[in-house]
């Protein structure tokens, strides 16, 4: 295992200490491991919190700050956080206007957030939850755990964070988050596995001429192993199911998000984006905004995911609104 770490057990705590040292103007870390906006709670503002396993940096801690998250709850690597964290986060950010939990659809995340929401409600804090489940690699079904929450989460946090920042109430913010979820679709792939620090070896073995299509963000194998293909072929393999699923059609306006899995350099993401732009143009889909970079990662995995969000003027306005977090910043 080749990592810039001191000890597998210390990674999360030391990274949080590094974040605190680096971004004290934006955030603080409170017990038990909750990243909270420096100026929380803000009276009258709906609190937006999210969380999940660590190993997806900058998500979620890197999105705490003005116009995005009020708090983030990092679990152990790839392990959803415990309810104590979400409860502490909820209490820390509640400014009297209630708190929205943005939850990625993983059994563990859903259950731990649910427990926390029950506890917070018992303490008199109004809590709503929206579950993000945007991964088209997973078939949607009532009888299964449903789709995973992946790249759409980043877009949801930005847009919903902007709405909360401008003073929208809990019902409006919750409905908006659900609207983002209803209009966002993603799919990912991996060229390599990654190594969970405490496990010490790669989660899966993969040949030099193979790739995994339809992976999530936890180093798990994907839906299918295929022969390595060109960037254009891979982009088609990811984007076609996305376009067909919602579906996205002629005249639709989107935010296109090309995401690196952690070990893939930016130059390759631009090669992918080049094809995304061409395919969207072919379908008559207008890319109004884009985001290209490694924002929701699987440790050092090489690979990429693509996310499309169908937007209207209001969502675009909120996307463009000022944001100032360690990982996303504009207009501020």
């Amino acid at each position: 295992m080749k990592k810039l770490i001191n000890a597998p057990d210390a990674v999360v705590d030391e990274a949080l200490a590094g974040m605190t040292a680096a971004h004290g103007d934006l955030l603080k870390v409170i017990e038990p491991n909750v990243v909270v906006r420096a100026d929380a709670p803000r009276s009258g503002k709906v609190g937006i919190i999210s969380g999940g396993g660590s190993g997806h940096e900058p998500m979620h801690g890197g999105f705490v700050g003005l116009g995005m998250l009020d708090a983030a709850c990092p679990g152990a690597v790839f392990t959803s956080p415990v309810p104590d964290q979400m409860l502490a986060a909820t209490k820390a950010v509640d400014g009297g206007a209630g708190v929205l939990h943005i939850v990625k659809n993983y059994t563990g995340d859903v259950m731990n957030f649910e427990l926390a929401a029950e506890l917070a409600q018992a303490e008199g804090i109004e809590v709503t939850s929206v579950v993000i489940a945007d991964d088209v690699a997973v078939q949607d079904s009532l009888y299964t755990a449903g789709r995973r929450g992946v790249g759409g989460t980043v877009l949801a946090e930005k847009i919903v964070g902007a709405a909360a920042e401008e003073g929208q109430d809990l019902a409006a913010v919750t409905a908006l988050c659900q609207k983002v979820q209803d209009n966002v679709r993603s799919m990912g792939m991996a060229l390599t596995s990654c190594t969970v620090p405490a496990a010490g070896k790669p989660t899966f073995e993969i040949g030099d001429d193979e790739m995994e299509i339809g992976v999530g963000i936890h180093g798990e194998p994907g839906r299918e192993r295929r022969k390595l293909a060109s960037a254009d072929e891979i982009t088609e393999a990811l984007l076609t199911p996305i376009l067909d699923d919602l579906p996205f059609g002629s005249g639709d306006r989107v935010i296109a998000f090309v995401n690196g899995m952690g070990g893939t350099p930016l130059i390759e993401l631009y090669v992918v984006y080049n094809k995304v732009a061409a395919m969207c143009a072919d379908r008559g889909v207008t890319i109004e905004r884009n985001l290209i970079g490694s924002y929701i990662t699987s440790l050092e995995m090489a690979g990429a995911s693509i996310t499309l969000l169908k937007v209207d003027d209001e969502m675009l306005r909120l996307w463009d609104a000022p944001v100032h977090t360690p990982a996303l910043r504009w207009g501020a």
Partner: protein, 229 residues
Amino acid sequence: MGRTGAHPGIALGSLSVWPMTTFDLAALRRFVDTFADRLHERKDELTALDSAIGDADHGINMDRGFTAVRGKVAELDDGTDLGTAAKTIGMTLISTVGGASGPLYGTFFLRLATSLGERSEADAEALGVALRAGLEGVAQRGKAVLDDKTMIDAMSPAIDAYDGAASDGMAAALNAAAEAAATGRDRITPLVARKGRASYLGERSANHQDPGATSTTVMFESLRDAVDG
């Protein structure tokens, strides 16, 4: 305590002799130590199972949780009732494990706690009732049914087997439970998962042993050995 009792007797209203095994705090402590030891020993194995169809953390999660549980249970007063002790386990798991297994195993022990209440000892029947309450908690929390390929597929047959053998005494019932858990664990290996992370793999989840069903089997084996031991 927790072994076959010192004063066996004829159970009222029963033709068979009920061995007077009871489950008490000492037994619970032995269980916790045994389970914690075995999770620690088998951490890599459980994580490897989770690597194949999940996210490579199940062994790490369970080991972290039961290391914490061991410490908390060691701190309990000797006079602590079983409900309080089980609640300590459940709360500790919920607060330290995370993932799917934290709330599921946590709920299991919280329901056990409610069922056991202020008892300082549980007989075979009371333990059976408590275990079933735990199972129901896991089913409610996780919404998994049989054949979804989860810990439910080890836990549910184990508790059925326990009930079936309870009249032979706690030791026999726990033995039956441990064997049924293992059988359940193996029975679902060929199946396609419908709940938990493994479900995201679709067909590729077939022919892999479920990590949670495996740790549940270890739990029932530890329970048997703590009582029988």
